[in-house]
Point group: C2
Chain length 247, copies 2
């Protein structure tokens, strides 16, 4: 595809949105959109905000994995529909959709994938979805809906990134951080899902630039204990993580 | 699981709902629910309607594949959440979810699956979803959300049936019926998706009675030109179609 020049970011002001704005600055015309600029629950606001945009990085969502139904419905389920629909109507060529490891989070709870004394089994990107939350289910919805816009409407390209665990301090989760998590599986197996800020930025840019029309790939650094596949990211986006948590 | 005795049917009054009510009558305590009895967009109404119910067959939805967003959002996306959540809160053990072949409808548009001079390639139930409509995407959502209720909340059993093409006259789609469809792929390949009324009833009853906790299976008769797998239905539900369109 033609390489994008003007890139809108929904969820600007969040951790990844801020990092991406800085990462793209000077090389692209970046249009950061906070909720005040264009709430994703407001289709009309998005139609205005996407005017003249080549690609949208859709990060806006309830970011709390344990979010209850009402915010998941509004910000995630309705929000991603509005983003695709506004992109279609305004002629935006591509949406990079911030999906999540939580679309397949229940593999992390499945002892069959974490055999004693060896590394975990790797979950490929086309494995059956197993959401661990309403949040995770809403990401499956966004992936499926995006594929409809790509394949049936032929109106967009959509690249879905199942992003792992990006931390504010940009360090791998330590036992101390992980210990805050009350759930055993998250504590033990979560660190394998770390995504360094640098790897997150190269992944997002690769998703903006690929010739693929539709893809689902995992965004995790090459950590010890990693259980999500890196194969699709390399094959479809030409992306490989540079970092890895190796305790 | 304990076999269900009291079975609620959402979408009673529709074609499949009416047939199912008749099929189960006398052998189960059947509670047919029309929109007037309990609208699936109304969680409180479902809480009342599901009281004392062992299993729900969730058929209520916009049935028009080309439905626009608003009815899909209300009846399908929010509706299936309300059904699972009401089932969880009232202690209903199982929901049989009427999913659809439209969750994977784009395979029907893909010439690679319909090679010249031989039968179509068979799409297994765990193939990546490829919805052909907002309706189809809403069915993917219902399947994923159901898995969350089963695996993470351990609150329900959910059996997802990707139902094919059930006709009012209960005859395989003829060229005349198919010709009404404006889209070439539907005209040529749709008849392979016929599901006889008899096969539909045995499938729904098998889904009510299986010991599986979660499953996705196709509901199509054993037609010439069939492109959806029957393997999962036989393996997981012990169900085989008795009919088939053999022109």
């Amino acid at each position: 595809m033609t390489q994008p020049r003007t890139i809108a970011i929904t969820g600007a002001g969040g951790l990844i949105g801020d990092l991406l704005e800085e990462h793209l600055a000077g090389r692209y015309d970046v249009r950061p959109l906070t909720r005040d600029d264009a709430d994703v629950t407001d289709l009309d606001a998005l139609l205005t905000a996407f005017d003249g945009v080549d690609a949208v990085v859709h990060l806006a969502a309830t970011s709390d994995v344990e979010s209850p139904w009402e915010p998941v419905l509004a910000a995630n389920v309705i929000g991603v529909y509005n983003v695709y629909e506004a992109a279609r109507r305004t002629g935006v060529g591509r949406v990079v959709f911030a999906s999540s490891n939580h679309a397949v989070g229940m593999y992390q709870w499945d002892d069959a994938y974490f055999p004693d004394g060896e590394g975990p089994k790797i979950v490929p990107a086309d494995a059956p979805v197993r959401p661990d939350s309403l949040y995770g289910a809403s990401k499956v919805w966004g992936e499926a809906l995006g594929r409809y816009y790509v394949e049936r409407l032929e109106a967009l390209s959509v690249i879905c990134l199942r992003i792992g665990w990006v931390t504010e301090h940009d360090e791998p989760p330590t036992p101390l951080h992980a210990a805050r998590k009350e759930i055993q599986h998250v504590r033990d197996r979560g660190p394998g899902m770390w995504l360094s800020q640098r790897d997150c930025m190269t992944l997002l840019e690769a998703a903006l630039r690929t010739d693929e029309r539709y893809a689902i790939v995992y965004g995790v650094s090459d950590n010890t204990g990693r259980w999500l596949s890196l194969e699709e990211g390399e094959r479809l986006l030409g992306w490989r993580p540079q970092d890895g948590h190796r305790p």
